[in-house]
Amino acid sequence: MDFRFSEEDEAFRREVVDFVEAELPWDWRNHEVDSEEPDGLKLVRAFKKKLADKGWLTRAWPREYGGQEASHMQQLIFGVEMSYRGIPVDDGGVSMVGPTIMMSGTEAQKRFFLPKISRAEIDWCQGYSEPDAGSDLASVQTRAVEDGDDFVLNGSKIWNGAHSGAGWMFMLVRTDPDAPKHRGISFLVAEMNVPGVKIERIPCMWGADRSLVTFEGARVPKSGLIGEKNMGWYVGATLLDLERSGANYSARALRLLEDLVDFCKENVRDGRLLSDNPLVRSRLARAAVDIEAARLVAYNVASMQSKGQIPNKEASISKLVGSETLLTVYGLGMQILGMYGQLDPESKWAPLRGRFEKGYMMVGANTVAAGTSEIQRNIIATRGLGLPRG
């Protein structure tokens, strides 16, 4: 066992931090950048290019696809430092699409997509959820019908960031409506900028949008089919596992906690510093412990991956624990900020730039996105603990 980063890993971490502190084009301590909005995406994209130039986005990938063959641990370190600073570098390309293509794609697909992902030349949005396929992902209904070299798409995908201008979508589509539910699905990547794709914004409570993408006879090339046709559920399942790591949650939570600690040391309520209030102290300390527990569970996932082991329930537990911890920390923040917590970032009285008010509204979506906490618990129980399916 070894709880320290290796010298090499620590040097890398230092390098990443120094680079970000020097090069990030916005002040991360004071500004939140939302890559699901066009302006935000533009800003992020530019910085991602710089990170890509360092080879960091896909540091753990093979060299031939634009990687540096570093350990999963370094990939984690990179992700953690980004999440800690709220730099939304991961649109699923590096963490999900790339690995899926690496595992199931053709050589041509690998040579086409992977370097592009590595160099941050394409942006992704997710095409999993549909209006009637949420937790029950395998009931996707968007139809893809072969027609010459194309698939013709009809149907809709929801809760994605397509309105931000992300050029590509990775998605599950139904290619055989007559096969059993899980057996008629294909995994497809496609450009959004084609006729027959309609993008509508869905305003959300935290003031930003998600999209509803409607395909009406949109033609996309067959070359975007990853893995075997009709086997997309199994191709995509791997990807969901990759999505279920929790290190980003605890990194984000840690930063929020540090903000809260600073706030409590500077603000007086009822005649004393908040940091002198025993209830506040106890709750912040408890949050620190929650975060540490979540952080270590996530690091263990990376540690396993670094050794070539395949995390299973460990990844689901990490997602569950991480997202619930982030929820707790936002809730705690709102509790501590009290009356001030309800102020929108636009208000001049809003503390910590209203980060908690906005995040508090957004964070509930985390325990819903990428499999609700209920679905994670199902997976832990059945796949992880071997309990019988209900």
Binding site: M339, L343, A365
Partner: protein, 374 residues
């Protein structure tokens, strides 16, 4: 002991619900979220015509003369319907304070106008100290020329932007409770009002008072004894807010159960899954608990008891329970509940505002701990 509503209260509740269904549907609520004023004079007049603005105001001052408990029956429905605008501040902060502390002249001068909808009154209590304790009042009132000069900054003042009178709490001495209430006109010289943007899309304001002059006749109650009134207002406000929250929580439960019955995943309504069932059962337990602990506070206050302990218990419980109910409702609804077009988020944002108003759980638990002789 009888924990059910009597017939008159049941009628009040039903008629309120009917009225609000017609006049304050969710489309209207959503519209008012974007509206600068946050309510319409048309609806205000209709509310006045219903007698709601004068519900607890004695008949001799143009009101209906019902009890505070009856008012909370009504507030449960306005909470369920998320009625926008200055109804709550006016009936709870404005008229209750004037009824409690006002002179006969003030009552005669102000209450009829409130009851008939011509006058909107709120209270400016909190400051940047964000404290519900008397020490939090730092705004000052200094006697001059038989009147008072007010200075200070008030924060989180509900609906100040549309009020014509604002009851301002200001310090008139150095002892913590040396606080006095003033009936200041909103358009007084030296008073600057700025809207704050808040999570609940309600209309709270910052109010900066710079040498605002108030005549002695507009002191509400006795000089230096304003905090006694404020304490009562906090108790009434807490109980009244709890009633609103019970209405909201019940609606969130209903909407969640409904959604769980209709949303199909994995080939069956999600409400057939035990995890969802237990979420709903926990919500139902919370709503049931909220209902009676809130009602007890309202009823005892209505009976003229100080009921400090009961009000504190109610607000401490309901503040947390409503937040839990909303969080679980969101969890059952999934992504759809976070969209602006869905009512779920309308409630959960308001739940946060309501949790904080008149003191959060921590604030009231300290009262409770004294009440259990700790």
């Amino acid at each position: 002991m009888d924990l059910g509503l009597n017939e008159a209260q049941q009628m009040l509740k039903t008629s309120a619900r009917d009225f609000l269904e017609a006049e304050c549907p969710d489309t209207f609520v959503r519209e008012m979220e974007e509206d600068e004023r946050g309510f319409t004079p048309e609806l205000w007049q209709k509310i006045a015509d219903q007698g709601w603005l004068g519900l607890v105001i004695p008949e001799q001052y143009g009101g209906v003369g019902l009890s505070f408990f009856d008012l909370t029956v009504l507030l449960e429905e306005t909470g369920a319907a998320m009625l926008p605008g200055p109804f709550f501040p006016t009936v709870v902060l404005g008229s209750m304070s004037i009824m409690e502390a006002g002179s006969e002249e003030q009552k005669r001068a102000l209450l009829p106008g409130i009851a008939d909808g011509h006058s909107i009154v709120t209270m400016a209590l909190l400051e940047p100290t964000a404290s519900w304790r008397p020490e939090g009042v730092e705004a000052t009132a200094v006697p001059e020329d038989g009147g008072y000069i007010l200075n200070g900054t008030k924060l989180f003042v509900p609906c100040a932007h549309v009020s014509d009178r604002i009851i301002v709490a200001a310090r008139t001495g150095d002892a913590p409770r040396d606080v006095t209430l003033f009936l200041a006109p909103r358009n007084a010289d030296g008073m600057t009002q700025t809207l704050l943007k808040t999570i609940a899309s309600d209309r709270q304001s910052e109010l900066v008072l710079t040498d605002v002059r108030v005549p002695a006749s507009d002191v509400l109650g006795e000089v230096g004894r304003g905090w006694e009134t404020v304490e009562k207002v906090i108790a009434w406000g807490a109980a009244a807010k709890c009633a609103e929250m019970v209405g909201g929580a019940q609606r969130v439960l209903d909407m969640t159960v409904e959604y769980a019955k209709q949303r199909v995943q994995f080939g069956r309504p999600i409400g057939a899954f035990q995890a969802v069932q237990h979420h709903c059962a926990n919500m139902a337990s919370d709503v049931e608990s909220c209902r009676y602990i809130a009602a007890q506070a309202a009823w005892k206050l209505s009976e003229g008891e100080a009921a400090r302990q009961e009000a504190a218990m109610a607000k401490a419980w309901v503040s947390d329970a409503y937040r839990r109910v909303c969080a679980t409702g969101h969890q059952v609804h999934g992504a759809i509940g976070f969209t602006k077009e869905h009512n779920m988020q309308l409630y959960s944002r308001r739940a946060k505002e309501a949790e904080l108003a008149f003191g959060d759980a921590d604030f009231h638990l300290e009262t409770v701990s004294q009440g259990i002789e700790l």
